[in-house]
């Protein structure tokens, strides 16, 4: 087990290395000269050249890569052209909003999807099961921004149930608990959009995992020794059925963050997604590329946790 853990953690290193190379390549493929707007236009061409040389603009690519990597490890991701401040502080500001949004959506979708998936599996081929199946198919097929726009049009605009966009009512002057309530009110619709799509995926996994477990011999044994059906399902079957589901939940964190790009853009939620989109429009590539780096890092960690959890929960798995 310990050996497996160490090996699993060590595998991350070459992957992170590969990620950093791709990100570095993207920075250099990005069009435009980020320094052109930062240098005083009254400088002579020679001054300009000397300045650029001093910061290593003319270094060969491998040297640039090593320098960049050294800085990135220390948290220096460069300087944002639009926001005129270090990229890291811009990202941190938006990152926590994305985390709040995606974790709330994840929690809601797990709470809904697991029970529905289990019931759907235990009542295979009933009307309930068919409805759940078709609903989850729709959930994995709908473009999330389209769903988000439908929610805005019908629930926010036509019925006036939710605020249309943003994170708080501008100019409301709320404070304390009222401010929190206002925040929750703004949070609800984007969470519903993300959670509905996420739920569809999780329901399918829970259902098929449960169906597989129910066919096992030990479930037949549990029934044969006269246990109540409820006990069989929720004690014996569910525990084992949830093992793959836990992995899927961990992995879906990355999916959620990625899906949040479009959702956030539609709801103008000030998270990573909106930041990326705005930065693309502003051609602020240091921010865009650093966002990708930060998210890739988190997805890597989430996958690592998924693997480790899997090894802990399921004692049947043996690792050489």
């Amino acid at each position: 087990m310990r050996k497996y853990l160490i090996r699993r953690i060590l595998i991350i290193i070459p992957v992170l290395f590969g990620v950093s190379i791709v990100i570095f390549a993207l920075i250099h493929l990005a069009p435009g000269d980020p320094y052109s707007s930062m240098i005083d236009p009254n400088f002579t061409a020679e001054d300009r050249r000397n300045l650029l040389e001093a910061i290593g603009y003319y270094d060969p690519l491998p040297v640039k890569y090593v320098k960049w990597l050294g800085r990135a490890i220390q948290g220096d991701l460069g300087y944002s052209i639009t926001y005129k401040e270090p990229v890291l502080s811009v990202i941190l500001r938006n990152f926590k909003n994305t985390v709040v949004l995606s974790l709330t959506a994840l929690a809601l979708s797990v709470l809904m999807a697991v029970p529905i998936g289990v019931i759907s599996a235990t009542r295979k081929n009933t009307i309930f099961d068919y409805v759940v199946t078709v609903f989850s198919f729709i959930g994995i097929s709908v473009p999330i921004f389209f769903l988000a726009m439908l929610l805005i049009k019908f629930l926010s605009f036509d019925l006036g149930l939710f605020p249309i966009s943003g994170m708080q009512t501008i100019g409301s002057g709320y404070s304390g608990f009222m401010k929190f309530l206002d925040f929750v009110h703004h949070l609800m619709l984007p969470v519903i959009a993300l959670a509905l799509v996420q739920m569809a995926q999780l329901m399918r996994y829970t259902r098929s995992s449960m169906l597989e477990v129910i066919m096992q011999d030990y479930i037949r044994t549990a029934r044969a020794k006269g246990l109540k059906e409820r006990l069989v399902i929720y004690k014996h079957a569910l525990r084992n059925a949830l093992i793959p589901v836990v992995t899927v939940i961990c992995i879906s964190i990355g999916y959620l963050m990625s899906g949040a790009v479009l959702t956030e853009t539609v709801f103008v939620w000030p998270g990573m997604g909106t930041l990326v989109y705005q930065s693309i429009l502003n051609r602020d590539y240091p921010v865009v590329v650093s966002c990708a780096l930060v998210m890739a890092f988190f997805i890597l960690i989430a996958n690592l946790i998924a693997d480790i959890l899997y090894a802990f929960i399921d004692p049947r798995i043996k690792y050489e």
Binding site: V142, F146, S258, I280, Y285
Partner: protein, 290 residues
């Protein structure tokens, strides 16, 4: 059970077809897809108006008997553009899937067959690709390359192969030690011939399923990127760039006929492909007998 007794003498493909025909959702999906493809091909014949014809007096006109789905922000017929949009959206889905399948299958087969160093290099590259937030990287590359249909196909294709590589590699690993492969080796066939003639044909089932679902993914990526203005550009209509009209708040709330139909088309198309893909998965799996 009746299937086993009646059709046990049939080839695996015939059994799969028979199973697929019995799957109502899959057949429904296939039916809808056929109609959509026919619409896309026949677009110039069946559309009531010219694709880019502008009628300045009818900007944002709501649906009438003349213009069944109304007019858009430039006074163009929405229904006409919707049908033409099917061409772009579906071909982006298909071409990007072909790119992804070619890369994914070759790398997966090579990794699984050769093993050792080549295998671990390819699989680490797969790991790198898999831990990128997919859509985010697509946006970054689209932003750098600039919006165009070709770029869209390339981006979607080049980002979609890693999971197929994993699937094919796993299949190849399980086939590698089969007797018929040993026999082929003993006959002196080279690795390339063994991979392409004897191994890949036997991994076709998961590849077909993946490719079907890949078309759905391609259509969703087209919709997402074009919605953000990073995909297909006007005046060529695609469902994604028609949806981007809803970035305008008044359009979103009031002129629903401009953006709800393309969104609905994406949903219906992707849903049908997913139905079919899921049906194919069950039909091609010899372990499922029903």
């Amino acid at each position: 059970m009746s299937l086993m007794t009646v059709e046990s003498g049939l080839s695996p493909w015939k059994i799969a077809t028979a199973k697929l025909k019995r799957n109502k959702l899959a057949m429904f999906g296939l039916f809808v897809i056929s109609i959509l493809v026919a619409l896309a091909i026949l677009a110039p014949v069946i559309t009531p108006y010219e694709r880019d014809r502008i009628d300045m007096f009818k900007i944002y006109e709501s649906p009438t008997s003349e213009h069944k789905l109304g007019m858009d922000e430039m006074g163009r017929d929405v229904l006409t553009r919707l049908i033409y949009g099917a061409r772009i959206s579906i071909s982006v889905g298909i071409v990007s899937t072909i790119i992804a399948v070619v890369i994914g299958v070759i790398l997966g087969a090579v990794a699984g067959y050769s093993g050792s160093i080549v295998d671990s290099i390819i699989m680490r590259i797969v790991d790198v690709f898999m831990c990128f937030p997919f859509f985010l990287i697509a946006i970054v590359i689209a932003g750098i390359l600039g919006p165009s249909i070709i770029n869209l196909m390339l981006i979607s294709g080049l980002l979609n192969w890693p999971s197929l590589t994993r699937i094919v590699r796993a299949e190849v690993l399980s086939l590698k030690h089969c007797e018929y492969i040993e026999a082929a080796k003993a006959l002196g066939l080279n690795a390339r011939k063994i991979i392409f003639k004897h191994i890949i044909p036997n991994t076709l089932a998961p590849i077909i399923v993946y490719a079907t679902l890949g078309i759905a993914r391609g259509i969703l990526i087209e919709a997402g990127l074009s919605f953000l203005g990073l995909g297909v550009e006007q005046p060529v209509p695609s469902w994604g760039n028609m949806l981007s009209a809803a970035q305008n708040f008044t359009t979103l709330t009031t002129y629903w006929w401009v953006w709800i139909p393309p969104g609905f088309m994406v949903l219906v198309t992707v849903l049908s492909i997913n139905f079919l893909g899921d049906g194919l998965r069950d039909a091609l799996d010899p372990k499922i007998i029903q």
